[in-house]
């Protein structure tokens, strides 16, 4: 760790030098309006401005951040956020977590797209495989690190990712995107914006997904190529934020090889299909702003030949923001969600009992933001109650204090308690992990993870201290956090009921995750912008004294790197060409066993060249120096380590 900090010292030095730049001249005051309008400025991203009053570790990725990351999927964009660990498992599979406890379906994270939750109650994780959005139409991605539970609710335990798509009025033109990767796989996307009478505007889009498979350590294809499509629409009121209606449908095929120690690997195909319809209405109500939002969502997963599941969701959510006096700003809301989950086992690898689960969730929250001293001290207190089915309501309080000694500095402290309810998989599924030969007597037993319907919720107590500084040419942020988890779901040796050896899930684990997140964004010259995000993190599970339990905890801890960073330089070349270089590094994952994920450093490149008003082409090269590396091994449905080296994608975009 000390070595790492030593290595990074020059970076801090460059940033400090850049920040100390003198301001320009006063002659500006005498320029004419026309001259002012033609001046080029060094623009500071306003996201930092917007965040200056937020007493939380929030990062906003703008449309420019998304474009210039060269990403084709959401997880790739998230690499720019400190505290977020993004590890690729295969062609479409990802492990994404905020502040640790990473896993394929990192289960303590809430991910929403336009207010629609996309985590699956099956794993309470996000199935990133089929979240293939039209990235050109994403307005911004807000990443809240740390608990956001008091406002956003269950699963917002160690982070919230809010993906917000553009209003239809902001995408009035037609867009056609065609791209091809180095192995010749084409992809296409089209979008058309339109006006719908005087009162609304809209857009429709369709895209195809066609991603090349990854390789195993010896260079053989893993056959996990991603194919699918997604199509949808969005309608918005002409007057800003009055109402919105959107809907999408998709289908995605995602094969993978599932490792079974014996009788061997199994080639499985994940087929996903689904659709949703979502609406939102906003208006003035009782002297404040009211928002009513609802959606219905349907996802069918066929995990051939192992199992299948359908999840149907209906959700209604109301929020009201009102100023009471000069000092108080109240936000309160309530929501109901109904989920119907139907699972079907197609093999003896996984079985569910019961097969059908209905989840009825009611939640309510209130938050008061108090200006203790106007413009200087601000306190926000909030709490959320949530009840699911017949369980005891959980309450999740939070307190945040923000001090803004100057207009450019913000210091905040935050403490809160958050809760995660166990997933359906954890409660009701029996899952075969593999077989093992006992040492004495030498017989073969099948290791089965056993269902436990009595699992209780996991608890988190989090504290955080943050500092944010706005410069003339950028911003910097430093946050330290400590997350204490209790009642974490762990596993221990259960009964031996020959030929099965059971592994039982219990609430017996506890852990502390603490870390430091640093980020900087500097417009170092009128041709170049520099962004950096660095995370140092430590994960410690409490020892329970039970060897199998501690071994399972150690495996979980080992899926987290202790440091990682991303450094991105964006160059604005003449003739509106853009060149972006990203260096990303991650420390090793100390996974037990023979194979492991070593530390890696990768350079990505993006170059875009506008041909004329209508057409631009773009070349992205991932892993420029062809460092054939692997980033993560799936902990759910274990598969061989997936490797990938240099990958090039050539894209053409027409807008008209």
């Amino acid at each position: 760790m000390a070595r790492l900090i030593g290595r990074l010292r020059p970076l801090g030095w460059v940033l400090a030098m850049v920040a100390a730049r003198p301001a320009g001249a006063a002659e500006l005051l005498d320029l004419s309006l026309e001259q002012l309008s033609s001046l080029e400025v060094v623009s500071v991203s306003r996201k930092a401005q917007r965040l200056a009053d937020t007493p939380a570790a929030v990062t906003v990725l703008t449309a420019e951040d998304i474009r210039r990351s060269g990403a084709r999927s959401i997880p790739e964009v998230l690499r720019l956020v400190p505290g977020v660990q993004v590890a690729r498992i295969g062609a479409g599979r990802w492990a994404v977590s905020v502040r640790g406890l990473n896993s394929r379906f990192a289960s303590r994270l809430l991910v929403q797209i336009d207010g629609r939750s996309v985590y699956s109650p099956l794993f309470s994780g996000v199935i990133w495989e089929f979240q293939n959005l039209m990235l050109e139409d994403v307005a911004r991605i807000e990443v809240v690190r740390g608990p956001g539970a008091s406002l956003w609710g269950a699963n917002a335990v160690n982070g919230v990712i809010n993906i917000v798509t553009r209003r239809a009025s902001e995408t009035p033109e037609a867009l056609v995107r065609l791209s091809v990767d180095q192995s010749g796989r084409p992809e296409a996307a089209v979008r058309q914006g339109f006006r719908w009478g005087e009162s609304a505007s809209g857009r429709v889009f369709a895209l195809s997904v066609n991603r090349a498979p990854f390789e195993d350590a010896r260079g053989h294809s893993l056959g996990d190529e991603q194919t699918g499509w997604r199509a949808g629409f969005r309608l918005d009121s002409a007057q800003r934020n009055q109402w919105r209606v959107s809907g999408e449908a998709f289908r995605q095929r995602s094969p993978e090889t599932v490792d079974l120690p014996a009788p061997g690997a199994l080639d499985a195909t994940f087929d996903y299909e689904g659709a949703f319809l979502s609406g939102e209405r906003r208006g003035h109500w009782l002297g404040g702003e009211a928002t009513l939002r609802g959606y219905v969502d349907y996802v069918k997963m066929i995990f051939d030949p192992i199992a299948s599941a359908t999840v149907s969701t209906g959700d209604l959510d109301f929020q009201h923001r009102v100023n009471a006096g000069k000092r108080h700003e109240w936000i309160w809301g309530a929501g109901v969600r109904y989920q119907h989950v139907d699972t079907d086992s197609r093999s003896n690898i996984i079985s569910f009992a019961p097969d059908v689960t209905q989840l009825k969730t009611f939640s309510a929250f209130v938050q008061d933001e108090i200006a203790l001293v106007p413009r200087r001290w601000r306190l926000s207190l909030g709490a959320r109650f949530e009840a699911r089915n017949a369980s005891v309501p959980e309450w999740q309080p939070s307190a945040r204090l923000l001090w803004t000694p100057t207009d450019r500095d913000s210091v905040w402290v935050h403490g809160s308690r958050a809760v995660r309810t166990p997933s359906i998989g954890e409660r009701y599924a029996n899952l075969v992990y593999g077989t093992r030969t006992l040492p004495f007597p030498p017989v073969v037993v099948t290791i089965v993870g056993q269902r436990n319907p009595d699992l209780k919720a996991e608890h988190l107590r989090a504290v955080e201290l943050g500092y944010r500084r706005q410069w003339d040419i950028g911003s910097t942020e430093a946050v330290v956090f400590r997350h204490r988890y209790d009642n974490l779901i762990g596993s221990d040796l259960g009964p031996l009921a020959f030929p099965n050896q059971y592994i039982v899930r219990d609430n017996g684990s506890a852990a502390v995750v603490e870390g430091l997140e640093l980020s900087a964004d500097a417009r170092v010259s009128d041709r170049m912008r520099l962004l950096a995000a660095l995370t140092l993190m430590r994960t410690d599970y409490d020892r329970t004294g039970r060897p199998v339990h501690d071994e399972a905890d150690a495996q979980r801890a080992s899926r987290n790197a202790d440091h990682w960073f991303t450094l991105q330089a964006r160059f604005d070349l003449p003739a509106r060409r853009e060149m972006d270089v990203t260096v990303r590094h991650s420390g090793a994952l100390k996974a037990p066993g023979a194979e492991r994920v070593g530390s890696y450093t990768v350079v990505d490149l993006r170059y875009s060249h506008p041909w004329n008003r209508y057409f631009e082409w773009e070349l992205t090269v991932d892993d420029l120096f062809d460092d054939h590396h692997t980033e993560f091994n799936s902990d759910q449905f274990p598969s061989p380590y997936a490797y990938q080296g240099r990958r090039c994608v050539l894209t053409g975009r027409w807008r008209f």
Binding site: V14, E40, V583
Partner: protein, 177 residues
């Protein structure tokens, strides 16, 4: 491998960090605020002869020291004064009001509180003119441009010079195209 990479990256950076000639975004926006004060007309009741023109900032000031420099200048023969009102009600006697990005969440409520007051509202919050603000800054290709809502101006009894209207990127509102 990693240390060498980073070192070469930093070397690359040090080559492209020359002195900065271009003004910063908020330095320029401050000057625009002065020019809006110069090219707008308020109803006589709102601005008696000899009274200074108040340029106000609501919320967290993004301008740093750049706004204070405006007080040395005149607009339409009047002194220019910079004020920081604590709430929208107290901003009703400002002539030009900049709504900082920190006010984004309260935008609709703030604009309602200012409804009918002869205040030229300016902001760089996304969708400001669509929400009923008068002038919205837009940064495009590193140039500061602005949109104007003519419906709001008319409603609040304000006029802008033709020169300003001509330079607007987009005119919205009743008289707009």
């Amino acid at each position: 491998m990693f240390a060498r990479l980073l070192a070469s990256f930093l070397l690359l950076l040090s080559c492209v960090v020359p002195a900065l000639a271009a003004p910063t975004e908020y330095q320029l926006k401050a000057v625009f605020l002065l020019n809006f004060a110069r090219y707008a007309t308020w109803p006589e009741a709102a601005l008696p002869p000899g009274a200074p023109i108040d340029i106000c900032v609501l919320g967290r000031d993004p301008f740093g020291t750049h706004l204070a420099g405006l007080e040395s200048r005149l607009a339409q023969g009047r002194a220019v004064r910079i004020r920081y009102p604590e709430s929208a009600e107290r901003a009703r006697d400002c002539q030009v009001l900049f709504l900082a990005a920190s006010e984004q969440r309260r935008l609709n409520a703030t604009l309602r509180d200012l409804d009918g007051a002869p205040v030229l509202t300016v902001s760089d919050i996304d969708g400001f003119v669509e929400a009923g603000g008068a002038i919205g800054f837009v940064t495009e290709d590193d140039r500061v441009r602005f949109d104007i809502n003519r419906g709001t101006l008319e409603h609040d009894g304000l006029k802008l010079s033709a020169q300003l209207l001509k330079l607007a990127r987009r005119l919205v509102g009743e008289d707009g195209p």
